[in-house]
């Protein structure tokens, strides 16, 4: 029996393209078109680029200019984690479904696992590490006060998603919170407290 691995159901790609909406939810705000997605190599019929064109990219991350020498299809998540030692954004699904890798690109919440470096250009990136100097962004303070984290693995992504939400909509209703936060999974089920912390922070922003 032969099997080329990893296998993937074509639904993944459709879903990321936003054409297919599963289970009544919106597609993720993954900031790439399906064409880009194929080119990134995230797509599972990728034919390897053996020469591996490396390129130098200047990135604006957390108010600093950082330079990396990587393949242009490298997702931002791995630039942050492997090349810059910024491990706050987490890897969990790698396909834009869980939000653990969420960072801000020009104040928009982006799944960094699917956002390739060549697309970043002059955009400003903010990660959890750059959200505040002393960990005292109103959402971080609210997260502590409400005591949200359980295992904590999803929480940096949750906070970054919430930052983008409050930038767009500083006084969200419960329904509006749910709608945005549905992009982020929490396997520990800390959703009630995540919602409470966002409501608390929204009173202080």
């Amino acid at each position: 029996m032969a099997s080329a691995m990893p296998r993937i159901n074509p639904a993944v790609i459709l879903h990321l393209n936003g054409d297919k909406i599963i289970k009544g939810r919106e597609p993720c705000l993954i900031a790439i078109s399906v064409i880009d997605f194929f080119k990134t190599g995230l797509c599972f019929n990728f034919r390897g680029n053996k020469k591996g064109h490396m390129a130098i990219f200047k990135l604006h991350i957390n108010g600093k200019e950082r330079q990396v020498d990587v393949e242009p299809d490298t997702p931002l998540l791995w630039i942050l984690r492997d090349h810059l030692g910024l491990v706050g954004a987490k890897f969990s699904c790698g396909i834009g479904e869980c939000g653990a890798c969420t960072v801000l690109v020009d104040d928009k919440a982006i799944r960094s696992c699917g956002f390739r470096v060549s697309k970043i250009k002059t955009s400003k990136i903010t990660t959890i590490e750059g959200l505040s100097v002393n960990g005292d962004h109103p959402l971080q303070l609210a997260w502590d006060e409400v005591d949200v984290p359980q295992c904590g693995y999803c929480q940096a992504g949750q906070i970054m998603q919430a930052v983008a939400l409050l930038k767009m909509n500083p006084k969200p209703t419960d329904g509006e919170i749910d709608e945005r936060m549905d992009f982020n999974l929490c396997r520990c089920g800390a959703y009630h407290r995540i919602r409470d912390a966002i409501k608390l922070a929204s009173t202080k922003i």
């Binding site: 029996m1 599972f44 990587v70 491990v87 396909i95 869980c98 984290p149 396997r187």
Partner: protein
């Protein structure tokens, strides 16, 4: 027992960081005599003196204890120091807990599982705190030339009651270290508890919300390489041939090595490895049964009719009871396989060197992981160290150590420090699942509606005993038989949060409602009558507390206004697991002809609630978990391979889908029992019973969305 030398050295380093001395109190974590503490002079501390953990008070007042248990979100790193701080009357802000590395010479239960850490350590930690407090008071009394009874303690100070003079614990620590300890140190009366039962914040919040690298996947060491492993996609297959020529030539790739049925792609960066992995061509060949979910479905049904089941409990004369029955109710319930899906995928770091082995990462069972590594590499255990990182969830998956062994074996082959990383697809296809189970229940009622006979048979995949034969209603039915049968499958299975009971509780509590309906009784009243029967005329051994179970049932009925509400349909469920008792009431309303779960009430009896916040998180999280998986969770197999590989195909509950939860605890002062699991099992039953009440449709299989009334309704 003398500790190995390297341990002494590590302890000595910690010790010398106690600048200017301080109080070190050794205490026994593994001894049966939990009351025994040994006072140490820091200068003598070598780690070879028979005690096995310690509490230290530095001269600046910082209090430190080492916690042996892996932290995976159960909040043990906060709850443990709370217990110490309570008896010590410490300033909570100065108490720290550090994750201890694996040390089987010191700790006897260094694992996270079975909701057992708090019950195990409760007395040990209290005694340690009380002993330190005793010494600090004695030191202050000596200084003031008074009697210990003239002193009190509060918030990190000893206070002279008459004059109001006070000395901080830090100031007293060194002198306290010179005083010897009496054999019996009194513990506080629980009415004086200030910290136990309070809601301090998680001590690791700051690290978590600022994105510090505290998880295994974040671990990095100069010179290490990374690897991903391609395992056979189908259970029951093995590697036939590997062509890695193209992959090896790709940038950032160091090597591709095959061991056992693993093809490891080793490289310098995760992305390079992910890309090269797709260029490896692997052929697999059959190596055992290749099974699909349709095979399992047939097998489970046929096993229920087999005569090969193993008897687990038998009371009375079941055959006669069923012969004499006025009514017989028979029902079958089934659940699918479930992956654990901890948000942090499996990973581990290993550095196998000629002088020893270092293992670092997220594990629930560091001791078993080391034992297995020693066996695999044929290296003595004392040459292997294990450091435990914070776990991004466990749910039972990290009780297994397959990922530790992979990392160790790979490091020994490539002779490099390596971190092995699983992807979500690896995780969901990689086994150790909650197995599929099917139950058949049969109940015999006499003409008055009394339950006179009860039969339960469990059929499970790789589940030797899919029952909990001594749980309620055992003991309440005169004629009862419980047996089980298993099918051995190459699909690997393992513990999943609240093993067995995560589905058994749903099936049993739903079935009891079916029986109550047939008997014409209210579900709550029916359960209370059974308990009363168990109390007055027990049938066989009773291994749960009738009183505690009765109390949570009555409280849940009262808190939820059972039977008094208009416009909502309520469902009841109660379950005893991991020594705790939880009753739940679920409320469903019909919206656009569809049942919507609005609210779940929970009343838990886990004895003394140590950490109110932590307890609420475990109960609410357990309910969200139990509801989410009952509703949506399903992993199926086609030709031996998992058909759902990532979150786009495997649905997990999200924020907009959670019900309101109201959690209560019984305040009875009984020594604490576990809470990491017990709130999950009752949820599915409460939900299904409420849905039945609302729609008249009885859900018997998980996931609920594949069943009526959901299957037919749009929007789910």
């Amino acid at each position: 027992m003398p500790a190995p030398n390297k341990t002494s050295r590590r302890d000595f380093i910690k010790l010398s960081s106690l600048a200017g001395g301080g109080l070190l109190l050794g205490f026994s974590w593994s001894s049966a005599e939990v009351g025994t503490s040994v006072i140490m002079n820091p200068a003598n501390f070598t780690g070879e003196l028979g005690f096995n953990s310690y509490l230290s008070i530095a001269t600046n007042g910082t209090i430190t204890i080492f916690s042996p248990n892996p932290e995976l979100g159960q909040n043990i790193m906060t709850s443990f120091p709370m217990i110490v701080a309570e008896e010590l009357d410490a300033d909570w802000t100065k108490v720290k807990v550090l994750q201890a590395p694996l040390d089987t010479a010191k700790f006897d239960r260094q694992l996270t599982g079975g909701s057992g850490a708090i019950p195990h350590s409760w007395k040990r930690l209290r005694t340690a705190g009380a002993s330190a407090r005793f010494l600090l008071v004695a030191a202050a009394a000596k200084k003031w030339d008074t009697d210990a009874t003239a002193c009190t303690t509060s918030n990190g100070y000893v206070i002279h009651t008459l004059t109001g003079k006070k000395l901080s614990y830090g100031e007293l620590a060194e002198e306290a270290a010179a005083i010897s300890l009496p054999p019996d140190v009194p513990l506080k009366n629980r009415k004086d508890f200030k910290i136990i039962g309070s809601s301090p914040r998680n001590v690791e919040n700051k690290k978590i919300i600022t994105g510090k690298g505290i998880f295994g996947l974040d671990f990095y060491r100069e010179g290490m390489v990374m690897a991903m492993i391609q395992r056979p996609p189908s259970f029951g297959t093995k590697v036939k041939s590997v062509d890695a020529t193209a992959a090896k030539a790709m940038p950032g790739i160091i090597d591709v090595v095959t061991f056992k049925n693993n093809v490891a792609i080793v490289g310098k960066s995760t992305w390079a490895i992910m890309k090269a992995r797709k260029a490896v061509k692997i052929e697999y060949t059959k190596d055992g049964n290749i099974e699909s979910s349709s095979d399992h479905d047939q097998l489970l049904v046929s096993m229920l009719n087999s005569d090969k089941a193993t008897e687990r409990r038998k009371d009375g004369d079941v055959a006669t009871a069923f012969k004499q029955a006025a009514t017989i109710i028979t029902s079958e319930y089934q659940c699918p396989f479930l992956p654990h899906n901890a948000m942090e995928p499996m990973n581990f770091f290993a550095d196998v060197r000629p002088d020893g082995v270092e293992l670092i990462g997220p594990t629930q069972t560091p001791a078993s992981a080391r034992q297995a590594t020693a066996k695999l590499l044929n290296i003595p255990e004392d040459k292997i160290t294990v450091e435990i990182t914070r776990l991004g969830g466990g749910f039972g998956r990290r009780l297994k150590f397959d990922f530790v062994l992979e990392a160790a074996e790979l490091s020994s082959i490539i002779k490099k420090p390596v971190k092995v990383i699983w992807t979500r697809e690896d995780d969901m296809m990689g086994g150790s699942y909650r197995p599929a189970v099917r139950y058949r229940f049969e109940a015999a009622l006499d003409e008055k509606g009394n339950l006179i006979g009860y039969k339960l048979r469990g059929a499970g995949i790789n589940l030797n005993n899919s029952t909990r034969p001594d749980n309620f209603p055992s003991g309440a039915v005169d004629n009862l038989v419980i047996d089980s049968i298993e099918h051995i499958s190459p699909v690997t299975t393992g513990a999943w949060r609240a093993p067995v009971t995560n589905f058994l509780a749903f099936a049993e509590q739903a079935f009891l409602d079916e029986v109550a309906l047939a008997a014409g009784k209210d579900p709550v009243q029916f359960r209370l009558e059974l308990l009363q029967k168990a109390r007055t005329k027990p049938a066989g051994a009773i291994k749960y507390s009738i009183d505690r179970m009765e109390t949570v049932i009555k409280q849940a009925a009262e808190k939820s206004g059972w039977g008094t509400k208009k416009g909502v349909s309520q469902g009841f469920s109660v379950y005893f697991s991991h020594s705790s008792y939880v009753a739940q009431v679920c409320e469903v309303v019909m919206e656009a002809n569809k049942p919507v779960v609005k609210k779940i009430y929970a009343v838990s009896d886990c004895g003394e609630v140590v950490n109110k916040n932590g307890a609420l998180q475990q109960v609410m999280g357990g309910i969200v978990d139990g509801y989410g998986h009952a509703m949506f969770g399903k992993l199926t197999f086609k030709d031996g391979a998992a058909e759902q590989m990532n979150f786009d195909q495997y649905r997990m509950i999200r924020m907009s889908e959670i019900p309101e939860i109201e959690a209560h605890f019984i305040d009875n002062g009984i020594d604490p029992t576990g809470l990491g699991e017990p709130a999950l099992p009752p949820t599915g039953g409460a939900v299904a019973n409420a849905i039945f009440k609302a729609t008249g449709t009885r859900i018997k299989n998980q996931p609920f969305i594949d069943e009526p009334p959901f299957k037919t309704s749009k929007g789910f």
